[in-house]
Structures are given as structure tokens and as C-alpha cells.
Symmetry: C2
DNA sequence: CGAGTCGTTGAACGGAATCAATCGTCGTGG
DNA sequence: CCACGACGATTGATTCCGTTCAACGACTCG
């Protein structure tokens, strides 16, 4: 999803380098020159900062379609390591080309800002969700947030396991809560979509 | 902190309206015309979306110095309500003036982008932190992330209670874990700063 | 036809939330 | 100037529920 948006944005940048990474391989290192902005084509990249004494401090994991190291545009060096958690393919956009692109196309700049504000909004929402303790309510609120306004239906992209992880729940808990919600008549499942029962909302 | 950054950015916008809000008062309403971008001078604003049936879905809480409704720049209407949780004062920046500002000052645009990427990064980091189950480790990682690299010391801004909330912990749990960490010799407290003991990191 | 993974359910455990109580400090107003 | 209330900081006891370990069927992919 984000992948296509960014692709559209960067479409003027011809032939971005596609870098394959083996599991555990480093894309860039803490302190190294910040040269590119990246998008995960597929796989999973973990950004890790290391303390003076070598203790790893994981900062963020980027998965399919997610961008990372956007901050490289405003920094001379990377502030963390980028390690491939699993074999991955990464799209690499040289930061000078990105800057040039924005310089020549103000409307692209605007789109980029829109993309960023959207990201900020989703992240804030996700954080707010995570502060709901009860797994039932957490899931239900997530569904409400992502439901289509017309028919109160949510299309689940990806696996339930991934969604559970995104919500900060063990996948077992997630399945259990889903089953409970359905038993209570608050939702209705069908394949990869979930319908919220109107009476449950009132 | 963020307040001053945004103030600097918007410094060319003369005399932003300062709107005082009583507790529970609405700043704007879902579906109303999106006219401004806001910064909380002090207080607390909650962004809440309401389902068709009137169930509230809280999306985000903005506190002192935080901005919200940046997405108004790209939308004709607001997608949620903004309600004052406590008596608050809000700085209001008309979105046309912001657009104009960016149009006339490309370097301001760049700074705004930098601000946004920074926000994205902190939010991602916070989310990553929240996925650490153990309160001890969650707090310790937070400290590591925010510690000065030289002396491994963290200046705590605001109250411990607020920090506990930011970390998604009950404040009692937070205090307990802090006490434990100190007992275990991993940290050292002094007033409003916490020092990480080097040997604990290795 | 296995190997791997998703989806699902059961049982037991552990740790964080919660309720509750105390102390100290700060500000406020009479 | 002191009494009072509000709130932060702290510790104790108890409850609750999400995690974890475990096992199984279904499905896909090589």
C-alpha cells in the first residue's frame, strides 16, 4: 500500500537499485554516510542502534512496502544499523535524486508531506490503540477505526497473525478474542473480512 | 520542545489566534470545514471519531507542545472531533497561511519535512518500545534510547507519571520497576535524572 | 508426500493492573 | 501564617487476563 504510494512519488527516479540482502546482512551501518532512502520491496529490515558497550537497542522494524531512513535526507550519517531479519529485497533511492525531485516538482513535495502526515496519524492511532489494555476492546476499536462507514465491514489485508502482531497481541490471544467477539454477536467473520454488528456498537 | 520547533517554523505567521477552551469544549467537529492547523500551548486535546451510531473512538491525545490536525492541509473537512480534556489554550494557524508560507519559503518546507520525519521516527520507536512486554526491560530500553552517549544519563522532563503513561504503564508499575532496577544496580536516580550503570549494559 | 505455516483451542503460569493507603510538597486562600 | 486540598511519589496485597507452552487440523508449496 505505502509501497505503491511511494512508487508513484518516486516514479521520476529511474531504475532504483534493487538490493537483495541475505538474512543477517547489513544494509548500512551506524555512523556510515547517509546516502539513500529505502523502501522494503519484500522482507523485513530491523533498525538497531548499539550502545557504546554493544548492547542492541531495536528501534523499528520495516516490513513489506514500508519505507525507512527517510531522515537520511537531513543527516550526514546513519544513526543506526539496518539489518535484514529475513532474506529481503530493498529499493534504494539516492537522496540527492530525491532532493532534486522535490526541488523540481513542488507538487511532489506536497504529496510527500501528505504521506508523512498520514503516517504520523496512523502511528498515533496505533499508539492510542495499544494503550487499551483489554484485547477484546483493542481489537474492536481497531475494527471500528478501519471499518467502511457504509456497511461497517473491514477488509483484512495480510494474515491474522500479522494483524495480531501489529496490535501488539500474541496471535493466540487475537484468535481467542475474535472468537469471543463473534460468540457475543459483536462481529461476523467471513474469509478475510470482518463485519461489525450494528447493535454491538450502540 | 516540539512547540518551540513549530513556533520557529511558523514564526512568519503573525499573531496566531490563541483559543482558550473550557473542559469538554469542542475545538472543531467531525465533518466541519478544515481551516486550521493547531498546536497545544497548554492543556490536553483529545481527537475522537464517532461511529454512525455514536460510539466514540479515541484516536489521539495531544498534550503540551504537540501539534495536531496537520492533515487539515490536505483535506476539506475534519475527520474527527477535537475535545478539550482539561481547560486548554490552543494556537491556531490558518491553513492557507501555512500553505503560503511553504510556497514562499522552500527551506521552511524542508524543515517541516524534517520535523515530520523526526516525528515518524519517534513514534515508530515508541511503538517498538511498547511491544516489549516486561516493564523492566521496557523502561531500561527507553532509558538507553534517550541517554546521553557520553555519560549514559537521562534527563527526565515532566513527571514520572507522565513518562509512565507515555510508556504505556500504570504509574505504580513504573515506580516499582524503577525501584527494582535501582536495587539491581542497573540505574541510579538523582532528582530528575537517571544514570545508567555501565556494567548493567554489558 | 513431507515441511512449513496459518488458524484454532486447551491449560497453567506469571506479571502487570488495580485497589488501597501513606507521605511529602506545593500552592491557595481565608 | 497556617490549614487545607490536590497531586506526585511510593509501597503493599490481590486480582485478572494476556502470555506461554502444547497439541492438532487444514492448507500450500516444493
Amino acid at each position: 500500500m505505502k509501497l505503491s504510494e511511494l512508487n508513484q512519488l518516486f516514479s521520476d527516479i529511474a531504475n532504483p537499485e534493487e538490493r537483495p540482502l541475505k538474512q543477517g546482512e547489513l544494509l548500512f551501518e551506524q555512523g556510515g554516510p547517509a546516502t539513500h532512502i529505502y523502501v522494503v520491496k519484500n522482507g523485513c529490515i530491523r533498525l538497531v542502534r548499539y550502545t557504546l558497550d554493544g548492547l542492541p537497542v531495536p528501534m523499528f522494524s520495516a516490513r513489506d512496502g514500508e519505507s525507512f531512513a527517510e531522515a537520511a535526507m537531513f543527516s550526514e550519517i546513519y544513526h543506526c544499523n539496518a539489518e535484514a531479519v529475513i532474506p529481503s529485497i530493498i529499493l534504494c533511492y539516492p537522496k540527492e535524486q530525491v532532493r532534486e525531485l522535490f526541488h523540481n516538482h513542488p507538487n511532489k513535495t506536497e504529496k510527500f508531506i501528505a504521506l508523512l502526515t498520514h503516517q504520523v496519524r496512523s502511528l498515533r492511532t496505533l499508539l492510542e490503540l495499544r494503550s487499551i489494555r483489554s484485547s477484546h476492546q483493542r481489537i474492536f476499536q481497531y475494527l471500528l477505526l478501519h471499518a467502511d462507514f457504509e456497511n461497517l465491514e473491514v477488509e483484512i489485508k495480510g494474515t491474522f497473525k500479522e494483524l495480531a502482531h501489529e496490535l501488539g497481541l500474541a496471535h493466540e490471544t487475537f484468535y481467542r478474542s475474535l472468537a469471543d467477539l463473534e460468540k457475543e454477536g459483536k462481529i461476523q467473520r467471513s474469509q478475510s473480512s470482518i463485519k461489525i454488528i450494528k447493535s454491538a456498537v450502540i
